[in-house]
Symmetry: C2
Subunit: 429 residues, 2 copies
């Protein structure tokens, strides 16, 4: 019998309590041993009581779990960097295996924790930290291990995907869908971490570390959120055969340099990620042997996330039974250079308001040309005295694009640069 | 250094040779040890030579590999049940780990091989046998292990998916697309195994054994192919909001009885599987905790399949290094009853030609009613003296449907029952 100590009995924690109970029989079969909840900690004891947890199993403080010699596996579901980090490290130093769903923690302290786990020959598993219940971390570490991963593109945040789907389908604006998402409980009262792309940034930091075998932390990720996306952009995207998604993107170039960023992007309407709607998440991986692979499912929610947490527990128990814990720890064997956003290359959609008279486009095109920005398509939308100009570039250096836009902004004929959005998921020209 | 012996240097075998060479550095890093090809066998020695394999590494007969004490892992890529089965069992009895992509073999001899592997404490891995490069077998055994799997629905055969996609997009008939697929090399000269659904049946036998922890073999799978699908059915499907796919389906009911079948089916146009086109494969899994998860990618082809094979080799080497081979062998802990097709329940699309006069529908509806077949929708297409009648049923027992159709066929007003196709992927009524 393997005993689990649970830190945090909130949304996911209670899901884990329920799942261990509900599927006790098959979990024992598949793990090869019965798995029981031995002790639970939460700031709010009532949360534990409401789940029917016996008083004897409710820990008075964290040490009661971390120091309990009977506990083999600690499950950390309190969230945040501290005190979660200290708790996890102490559990590891006590020789306990740890499962966590905490992307905030792993995206900044991943290396430290995985190295501690290795030094103590225990497991640290974290499948739930990216994509909720979707198997993505272990497939990358295992089944896809023969591939040089060229690209990982994810829709990793359910809240913003719900909002963008809603904006696309109903023509609503950002404020309207945010309000609706908050009313439905899909967005938090303070939605910053979701809408500004930080949540997705943590997840792509974790995924890209695995894909490229080089530690990428939150600080390495360039981030743009969805707050500036308008119904106009969404409409033009559709007209041009694209949809707008908040993408988490990690790429490695021929020289082994990586770029990792989160930004809204146009992707072709027939790209597999384009059909990932509402709160669903997906991770799209390009490997040199396997080609394109996609994993799709619920990226959050109580039971989907608990599914991944308990899956990790089962895997640890299997390792315990074969005496091979720590067989698959940190996989960051190398250190790759992370490109600055200025040095990355993308294709861009640019929307601007210009005075509608002859020669205006020539002026703009001239500036782009001088800065090595090559234009693939131009659409002009008439609108009285002013016209809206939609440009799609070929692949250009971000630096060159920014410089041109600076210059273009100064043109007297250009009233306003409405939006600039990257294009993604298009095969190389 | 770990030494691999390769049986079969055809499409996938040569992919494995290439991949081990091309990604030698990262494979060694990820496995923790260098992996080298020690000996290769093929009926046709020229195939090995063309890949640049040194003469010293080309085996004269299979025993040279199976008896070679230096070889740790045997990769079986010759295909078919025999002699592959004997070779695999002998390798296992010699204490060698085995990787295979051979669905024909595993769908009939899976239990025997996995039990032998367990008895000899070696690994038998077979990720490539289903869905080519798509990670699906290990995610089911690992990340999703906390779930009671309710349903696995796969598009598991690239050839037929290509054909149906083509029929949908271009209105071509079965013979036309088969010819085209053969010209493009997507279908074999003898396409039986693909178009009659046998290839998909082998794969769903393998997947359902894992999902339900009960051994399902090819014989347990009910199979219908795509040869009777017409452009008319595809057109009506589209009109009603569906697409037709060849689905491999495995379900477990509340009483723990399972049904496993391959048949063409209507699925809603907004179902994630509906967007899986051309030669792509996908596996859609419904778990009680995780909800809906889908894995998508290239289900065949040299390098995608080699990706899975080499992924398995890496995993075995990791196990060797931690001394835990055989940690995850046969997972068929129980024996579940497989329902006969007559006892399964489905919704159906029925297309029939009837005489166009009053009372005809009443007669047909009466027979359905007497047999507990409840009709959800009827569309009548006028066409001169005859009319085409399209019916969609509610969920009915297959037995009841068949009995009604027998009786309906006898009606003088019914000229012909054109086609009967199941509906799938619709949430319970
Ligand atoms: N929810 C999801 O869908 C989801 C999906 C993927 C990953 N995750 C991750 O899973 C983790 C848990 O998320 P959640 O949604 O379950 O959060 P939650 O509902 O806020 O649960 C956290 C629980 O831990 C308690 N807690 C926090 N700090 C504590 C401390 N120092 N000592 C004792 N108890 C403490 C909290 O109590 P108070 O409420 O009193 O603070 C709360 O009951 C997070 O890392 C999150 O990022 C969540
Ligand atoms: N191709 C794919 O995309 C794919 C995808 C998933 C799984 N698979 C599976 O992978 C396996 C290999 O497929 P494949 O496409 O690579 O087949 P293949 O191209 O026909 O390769 C098989 C090779 O093995 C040789 N061979 C057969 N029997 C032999 C024997 N007894 N002794 C020595 N050599 C023998 C064959 O030689 P001859 O040609 O002279 O017979 C051939 O060179 C099969 O089990 C298949 O189901 C294939």
């Amino acid at each position: 019998m393997v005993k689990v100590g649970l830190l945090g009995c909130g949304t996911v924690g209670s899901g884990v309590v329920k799942l261990l109970e509900q599927n006790r029989d098959i979990i024992a079969q598949r793990a090869g041993e019965e798995i029981v909840l031995h002790k639970v900690l939460d700031r709010d004891v009532e949360k534990c009581r409401r789940l029917g947890i016996a008083s004897a199993k409710i820990a008075a403080d964290v040490e009661e779990i971390l120091k309990d010699e009977e506990i083999d596996i600690v499950v950390e579901l309190i969230g945040g960097v501290e005190p979660a980090c200290s708790y996890v490290l102490e559990a590891i130093s006590q020789g306990k295996h740890v499962v966590s769903a905490n992307k905030d923690l792993i995206a900044v302290k991943g290396r430290e924790i995985l190295e501690a786990a290795e030094a103590n020959r225990v497991d640290f598993y974290y499948e739930a930290s990216v994509g909720g219940g979707i198997p993505v971390i272990y497939p990358l570490k295992q089944s896809l291990a023969a591939n040089r991963i060229k690209e990982v593109i994810g829709i990793l945040n359910g809240t913003t995907n719900y909002m963008l789907t809603k904006m696309s389908r109903e023509g609503l604006n950002y404020e309207q869908v945010l309000k609706e998402a908050q009313e439905l409980g899909y967005a938090e009262a303070d939605p910053t971490s979701d809408v500004e792309g930080l949540d997705a940034a943590r997840k792509i930091a974790i995924l890209s570390s695995i894909a490229f075998n080089s530690r990428i932390t939150l600080d390495d990720v360039y981030v743009e959120g969805i707050t500036r996306i308008t119904p106009t952009d969404i409409k033009y995207a559709a007209e041009l055969g694209y949809v707008i998604k908040l993408l988490a993107i990690a790429k490695e170039d021929e020289e082994g340099q990586v770029e990792v960023r989160v930004n809204p992007a146009f992707i072709p309407a027939d790209h597999p990620l384009a059909g990932v709607n509402d709160v669903f998440n997906a991770v799209f991986v390009k490997g040199d042997a396997v080609g394109d692979v996609m994993h799709y499912g619920r990226g959050a929610g109580q039971m989907p996330t608990a599914s991944a947490v308990v899956g990790d527990i089962i895997e640890i128990v299997r390792n315990m039974r074969s005496g091979c814990n720590s067989r698959l720890g940190c996989t960051c064997y190398t250190e790759k250079k992370v490109l600055k956003i200025e040095d990355t290359k993308s294709r861009f959609y640019i929307r601007m308001s210009v005075v509608d008279r002859p020669g205006v486009l020539a002026g703009i095109a001239g500036i782009f040309g001088n800065n090595n920005v090559s234009i693939a398509a131009v659409v002009q939308k008439e609108g009285g005295e002013m016209a809206e100009l939609i440009l799609i570039t070929h692949e250009v250096k971000e630096k060159d694009l920014r410089k041109s836009l600076q210059e273009i902004k100064e043109l007297p004929t250009v009233k306003d640069i409405g939006n600039v959005i990257r294009l993604e998921g298009i095969d190389k020209e």
